[in-house]
Symmetry: none
């Protein structure tokens, strides 16, 4: 079954609203193995909407539209549905009842405009809307399904969940193939090197699919398998994951929607360990990521944003002489900062970061993007050099990612070299 999604609304075209609705619907359909092959966004213009109805209806088995069902002057979807299916509007008294109850509950007066929302295309099965006044429509004709939903996200989602998805599952022919997906999250290796490390994809995948999804935080690997039954699909997924882990296991920090900070939080809590952080150039970014995790007081002891040299010396006990000789951005200062923050806090791990985030601050021998990350625990005391890019915010993000990955690797006993 092939589907297209039509999102209706000027606010989407000018970027005032981000199209989260289409992403949600895409995800829901993907889960029940319906292929979305196209998403279209059009503005609040009847001609344009009608044209997309026609194009989508011809080229797919299922069309889902959202938006343009409100009661105001720039809502055209219902009128386009009536025209497209050559039908008429009839009053649906159940819907009228819903609307009346909703207004009574909110203590508001019902107006003619709102009553009119109970007029629905005669050809349609009405989809009740528990959270708003615009009902949706389910239209089935000559083996095709056309579904119309409001654009308000929580209204649309409730209708998808309670009506659309269950009914689609009933309607669809039983599939003889089961599709399963898994995402592995990597960091610390660029897409091209990861691609090379995995070697021949044909051998690795044997008919399955692998997508590389890169961002500044790392590369996600999405494995898709399709097999004759659930168990076979699961086994195939496990098999491919194991092969990938053999080749690039050290770079894989999690799966699905895992973030590195969630993984660190889990690792530290499992071990009953606490961490303290001394940040210079990242200015609190790493501490912020870790304290975004609920329950962070169990593993985060304190952070020192030692931005000035005075703070480095006074609080972290960095040797003034070392700063004079090597500069505040140096391996030695990073090492001393990590040691200092561990020692004053009594935490199990001390992490430190010093660097030049840009766009200013570079010197003859120290470019923008230069970062030293220090790590100190009861067994290890080390610091490592990194060179990132030119953009200040990105540099903060990449530095944080590198620092968190360093924690992950030390805690798990993985080498911090490539």
């Amino acid at each position: 079954m092939n589907a297209q999604i039509i999102s209706i609304g000027d606010e989407l075209l000018i970027g005032q609203t981000i199209n989260n609705n289409a992403a949600y619907i895409g995800q829901q359909l993907d889960e029940i193995q319906i292929n979305v092959n196209k998403i279209i966004v059009v503005g609040d213009k009847p001609d344009a909407i009608l044209r997309e109805f026609e194009l989508s209806y011809v080229s797919s088995d299922l069309v889902i539209t959202t938006g343009g069902l409100g009661p105001t002057h720039d809502d055209y979807t219902r009128e386009c549905v009536v025209k497209f299916f050559n039908t008429e509007l009839v009053m649906n008294f159940d819907v009228l009842d819903d609307i009346k109850k909703m207004f009574a509950k909110r203590g508001r007066e019902l107006t003619k405009i709102n009553e009119n929302q109970a007029l629905v295309p005669k050809i349609a099965t009405t989809i009740r809307n528990e959270n708003g006044t615009a009902p949706g429509y389910w239209i089935e004709q000559s083996d095709k399904i056309f579904i119309v939903l409001p654009g308000v996200p929580y209204e649309m989602k409730a209708m998808m969940e309670s009506f659309v998805i269950p009914r689609l599952q009933q309607t669809m022919p039983m599939r003889d193939r089961v599709r399963k997906r898994k995402i592995l999250q990597t960091t610390g290796i660029p897409e091209s090197l990861l691609f090379e490390r995995l070697g021949s994809l044909d051998e690795l995948l044997e008919g399955a699919q692998l997508a590389f999804l890169p961002s500044q935080f790392g590369v996600k690997l999405r494995i898709t398998v399709e097999e004759s039954n659930d168990e076979a699909a699961q086994n195939k997924l496990v098999e491919i994951e194991q092969k990938i882990r053999t080749k690039a296991g050290r770079y894989i920090f999690g799966q699905g929607d895992d973030t590195l900070q969630q993984v660190i939080a889990r690792l530290l809590r499992e071990r009953g360990m606490k961490i303290a952080i001394a940040e210079s150039c990242t200015g609190g970014y790493v501490s912020n990521l870790l304290t975004n995790i609920s329950g962070s007081s169990h593993f985060f002891e304190r952070g020192i944003i030692a931005y000035s040299n005075a703070a480095k010396v006074e609080i972290l006990k960095v040797d003034e002489d070392t700063i004079v000789r090597h500069g505040a951005v140096s391996l030695d200062v990073a090492r001393q900062m990590a040691e200092g923050v561990k020692s004053i806090s009594g935490a199990d791990i001390g992490i430190s970061i010093t660097g030049i985030m840009g766009p200013t601050g570079a010197t003859a021998d120290k470019p923008i993007g230069l970062v030293y990350i220090g790590y100190y625990d009861d067994k290890v005391c080390t610091a490592k050099k990194f060179v990132f890019g030119e953009d200040r915010i990105l540099n903060k993000q990449r530095t944080a990612q590198a620092a968190l990955d360093m924690i992950r690797r030390f805690v798990l006993g993985i080498s911090i070299d490539e």
Copy 2:
């Protein structure tokens, strides 16, 4: 000029990635008065991509595509461009040079796969990519413009900003009506109260338009005027802005894309003042916002993330007794934290934050969302209570906004009461 945006990538169809790119491009084009009449999302399938190229090229003056330019097996955009324009790939040595430099700087080995990214369609003007290895293309043919950009957001955005938008502005014909926009940024007042404060919009606007764009950070006011010439439009804008400022001036912290942290940075630097921050529950978030500003070392002295009580007592000299009597989340502790961080740092202003971000940590008399913000300078020593909501991340953001707005108001001599 009519435009269409084509976003390429399976991850968009199955909702694994939200189409922020299209929203960004739509917004950028809208600002220079180019109408986007359609956004299309297609998967990583050469046939489907080619079909959308054809459809869009026929029905619009400008096409912008993103995605599918990476170096791996599921990237088809370049091959489709070559086919569509019936051209061939040639090596672009400037791009090759960019790629080599990028790899050299990061100390990584260049592979054949990466070198191949310097092969570009002969017909295209190449758009350099400072943040990645895939260049973009600008193709102009028979009054139509076809632009191809990578899908990685920060790469795409930098290329839009430095190349695409300026060049589109040069290319476009002059219009007979001039549209101008201005955004005023407010914080500390909800949409409905702001609306009431402004009184009759008809009187205020006299034919111009005003949009209220609310978010958790405050309400943006977007004024849009359309006049016969540049000067008239400018004058009208100024006139409306002045009227709005008379009615709600204290809530307006900036304009356009200003952030509150940028405004604080400017205020402090103009006055040669330095700030030090003691954060508990926000865990470094406020410090991170301020150090996102380039040159922050001129006004940011240090931050202490005093997450544990030990850190509050040892570093900030908070009285242990006060913590026992009033709790760590209290007016008194907030005041002492602000005093402590100012005194140990020698900064001109000390700010402190202590609260309960949730979802855990509430007590019988202290709900989730309870926050105290302390402020200490040479003239004022105060602390203020806030109650925000249930969501941890939103609570961090709203707390930060309130703390920054408190700095703004004190520095400018505006009352911190509503």
